[in-house]
């Protein structure tokens, strides 16, 4: 997946910063817009899906490349 509206790179940041930064970015977006979130914190593999589930945002796709996890979120 390559289409997104905003890219947010949280490489090097640890829990809970990726979730907090994602929340902040999403708050500036409108419903249906997509966020490409890049995370190096391995805990994010569980935290970002949990965040999406709790906040009504959709996790469209996840993939891991060169030690970085790429999440594609759609604002709900």
């Amino acid at each position: 997946m390559s289409e997104f509206d905003i890219e947010l790179d949280t490489s090097g940041m640890n829990c809970p910063l990726p979730v907090l930064k994602a929340r902040k970015a999403l708050s500036t977006m409108t419903t249906g817009q997509r966020l490409h979130l890049i995370v190096t914190d391995p805990g994010a593999n569980k935290d970002i899906p949990a965040f999406c589930k709790m906040t009504g945002n959709s996790l469209l796709d996840t993939n891991e490349l060169d030690g970085k996890i790429h999440f594609f979120l759609e604002k709900g």
Binding site: N14, P16, V19, A22, T40, F51, M54, T55
Partner: protein, 154 residues
């Protein structure tokens, strides 16, 4: 209706400051209504200028570069060194500072409540604390926690 998280923060050490602020800021990001009730040493976390420390003394689980016997840990400066080491480690691992997490809590509407009894007990003054906090007692906390989905004592 929003979920609710109630936390009692009773510790005033650097390591003790993280769990309440991490959970509160994250819960706020997940849409929770959050209140933290600061009591006893936890009141240190509301000070304008934080000077939180971590001590290896009485904490055999704290990882140290070399084993240090308890009798040596009382030497002045060792607590300073352990705190410096911990802060450096937190920074290199990309962990937010306590100040940063506290700011996020305030920005995201987490209610910070100082326990009035312990404020009086330690002769703290309102001007010692950051702006925007409130104060209350046991009944204030229990009223909120009775309706909370999650309640934590830290």
């Amino acid at each position: 209706m929003a979920k609710k998280l109630a936390i009692i923060a009773s510790k005033g050490t650097l390591d003790g400051a993280y769990p309440p602020f991490i959970l509160a800021s994250t819960a706020a990001a997940l849409g929770f209504e959050v209140k933290i009730f600061f009591t006893f040493y936890g009141l240190q976390l509301l000070k304008k200028e934080l000077s939180l420390k971590v001590s290896p003394l009485g904490n055999p689980a704290m990882p140290m570069p070399v084993p240090i016997p308890s009798i040596v840990q009382v030497i002045p400066g060792l607590e300073w060194f352990a705190t410096w080491m911990m802060k450096r480690k937190l920074k290199t691992k990309g962990v937010a500072s306590v100040e940063e997490l506290r700011d996020i809590c305030v920005e995201s509407g987490v209610e910070l409540i100082a326990c009035q009894m312990t404020v009086d007990l330690f002769d703290f003054k309102n001007e010692d604390f950051i702006e925007g906090i409130s104060s209350g007692g046991a009944a204030t906390f229990l009223e909120f926690s009775s309706e909370a989905d999650t309640t934590l004592y830290i």
